[in-house]
């Protein structure tokens, strides 16, 4: 056998005799093995901190108008510049973090809950299965943005309604995932054994199937969160999203579009925050998928 490289030597000892390691060395090894996952986690933690601490790190009121200070370029005083009403873009961007995070997290959690419940029931009920899956296929044929736009056209613009409009297109994705797992788990030996012991269907769903679904659902949840944040910004940008008085990233950019040539920073910074946050969540999702061995 050739002399193993340091990495494979570590793996060998790990697989054979688990060697005692300090917490510090373990952490370093974990970072070296999952650089993008850790980078995503760190970035996400920073964004979360920015959202929670927005009033403390803040340099003013996000809505304060200063007509004398219109369209200031980024400087030591105006970190991200100011907009056409003299509002501070840095303050507004930090406050926008809250809107995006709330929307992303609420959409992910709500659609996971509803989708999982529906998927479990559909997967176990053959009669419902065909009909409900046609409905899900039909919903998935409509692009998420268009469906959300159509829903927003019929509801008043509020943060709650934006979340509803984003949850509806997300549900079929979760239902499909859960149903596929239930269909394959239904034939598993442990489920058969449980049945033979007289365990009822609800208990089988909750105690035997749900645990196996946790890992794929967590991964799916990160992607749902990332795409909900993007679509929320699209809705705001198209004028059908979060009410204009709330400084969401999409709203800040929508208001800045007329000033692109004069003041590109109004669009640049909120967009940079949005892109970085979504990227961080996607990296965390990819990392979790590898670590939890989903698929």
């Amino acid at each position: 056998m050739a002399i193993p490289s340091s990495a494979s030597a570590a793996e060998l000892t790990f697989a054979g005799l688990p060697r005692e390691r300090g917490a510090f060395a373990q952490t370093r090894r974990f970072i070296a093995r999952n650089p993008t996952f850790v980078a995503g986690l760190v970035a996400l933690a920073l964004v979360l901190a920015a959202g929670v601490l927005a009033p403390v790190w803040w340099t003013g009121d996000p809505q304060a108008l200063r007509p004398a200070e219109r369209l200031r370029a980024p400087s030591a005083e105006w970190w991200f510049g100011s907009d056409q009403y003299g509002r501070d873009i840095y303050t507004r961007t930090l406050y926008g973090t809250r809107v995006s995070l709330v929307v992303g997290a609420s959409v992910a959690v709500t659609s996971l809950l509803i989708g999982t419940a529906l998927g479990l029931v559909i997967g176990f009920n053959r009669r419902l299965d065909t009909a409900m899956m046609r409905v899900m296929d039909g919903l998935m044929a409509i692009p998420a943005i268009l469906l959300a736009l159509a829903l927003m056209a019929l509801m008043r613009g509020s943060l709650r309604n934006v979340i509803i409009a984003l949850v509806v297109p997300a549900i079929p994705l979760v239902v499909r995932l859960v149903r596929a797992s239930v269909l394959s788990l239904r034939e598993a030996v442990m489920v058969e054994a449980a049945r033979a012991l007289g365990v009822g269907t609800p208990r089988i769903l909750l105690r035997y199937m749900l645990p196996a679904l946790v890992a794929p659902l967590i991964v799916q949840g990160t992607y749902l969160c990332a795409s909900a944040m993007l679509v929320e910004a699209y809705l705001s940008f198209l004028g059908a999203g979060t009410p204009p008085h709330i400084p969401s990233w999409g709203n800040i950019m929508a208001e800045g579009r007329a000033y692109l040539q004069l003041a590109f920073w109004i669009i640049l910074f909120p967009g940079l925050f949005l892109a970085s946050t979504v990227l961080a969540i996607n990296l965390v999702g990819d990392g979790l998928r590898d670590l939890l061995k989903v698929r």
């Binding site: 409905v135 039909g138 044929a141 409509i142 943005i145 910004a233 699209y234 990227l279």
Partner: protein, 313 residues
């Protein structure tokens, strides 16, 4: 074969029926009186009543569904409340820009995304592979309109190479038509390109581990011919599948892109209709897009049989 095609076409009817009913039912599932919402905040009771009778909202729900389905089957998508024109006419006027934009973006995505994916899989673990993967994740995380504004700022406002926004119809000549679509198509293609590159890489990596690929390399065949003629051919099924599924993403992105570049396409039609609460237009566009999605994925199902002769229908 013809019989099979017909049978598969028939199988799409239930899905389309569901879409048609769902699109119609949205109007009734959402809270509040649809006539009041469509009429807007400042409408008088008279205007609300007018809209209610015009849309047939005063009749029983099932009758309304029946009338709507009957219309759709005859190719009638109703009349716009705002302009009074048939929805099909409005869609016809706006289709060119969207089809042009989507086709252009699709071409860019496939022509760049597939080679990138093949390259990354071939040089797995190298800096090329890492660069492609980083690009793919970032492309997937990019807000479409933000990217559009950045491109406009650099290529149109600063360098002055391309028009900032606007559209030149195809009949005015090919070059002006393409010139106005370069930036929008680049903007729109990034997400799709990332998706295709990622899928191509994953699928190629599986195929490259097969014995016959090793044999082909061992025979001393040129890497290019092994990668393209031997490996890519067998790796193409998932790639073609993702192109079909990604169509919904492409159209969704087109709605945003058209708004950034002021292209008179279906996306703009929808967004304008939403601001005016012109529900028949929204309904019509949703139905059309969903129908295209179903049809495209049907065509892709048949492509499987061409790409993989083992699959028969």
């Amino acid at each position: 074969m013809l019989q099979q095609i017909l049978r598969r076409l028939m199988a799409t009817i239930p899905v389309m029926g569901v879409v048609a009913i769902a699109v119609f039912a949205l109007l009734h599932v959402t809270p509040g009186d649809p006539a009041v919402i469509i009429a807007g905040d400042y409408a008088t009771a008279e205007e609300v009543a007018k809209i209610r009778s015009k849309l047939g909202l005063d009749r029983p729900f099932l009758v309304q569904v029946g009338i709507w389905l009957g219309q759709v089957v005859r190719g009638d998508l109703g009349t716009s409340i705002f302009s009074g024109l048939p929805v099909t006419t409005l869609i016809g006027q706006r289709a060119e820009a969207t089809v042009g934009l989507a086709t252009f973006a699709l071409l860019i995505s496939v022509c760049v995304g597939v080679p990138l994916g093949v390259l990354a899989a071939w040089r797995q673990g190298s800096w090329v592979d890492r660069a492609v993967m980083v690009f793919a994740v970032s492309g997937f995380s990019m807000p479409v309109f933000w990217l559009g504004f950045l491109l406009v700022y650099v290529f149109a406002l600063s360098l002055g190479w391309l028009p900032v926004q606007g559209y030149a119809p195809f009949k005015d000549g090919l070059w002006p038509f393409l010139r106005h679509l370069i930036l929008p198509a680049m903007t729109l293609s990034v997400v799709y390109l990332a998706l295709i590159a990622r899928m191509t890489r994953a699928s190629m990596m599986e195929v490259l581990h097969e014995d016959y690929v090793r044999t082909a390399f061992a025979k001393g065949l040129e890497p290019r011919s092994v990668l393209i003629r031997h490996a890519l051919k067998n790796a193409s099924l998932p790639v073609v599948t993702i192109i079909g599924i990604g169509f919904a993403l492409l159209i969704g992105g087109a709605v945003v892109t058209e708004s950034v570049f002021a292209l008179p396409g279906l996306g703009r039609l929808t967004v304008d209709a939403i601001v005016r609460r012109d529900y028949p237009v929204i309904q019509g566009v949703l139905l059309l897009v969903a129908g295209m999605y179903v049809l495209i994925n049907l065509v892709i199902d048949f492509l499987y049989a061409v790409l993989d002769p083992r699959i028969r229908y």
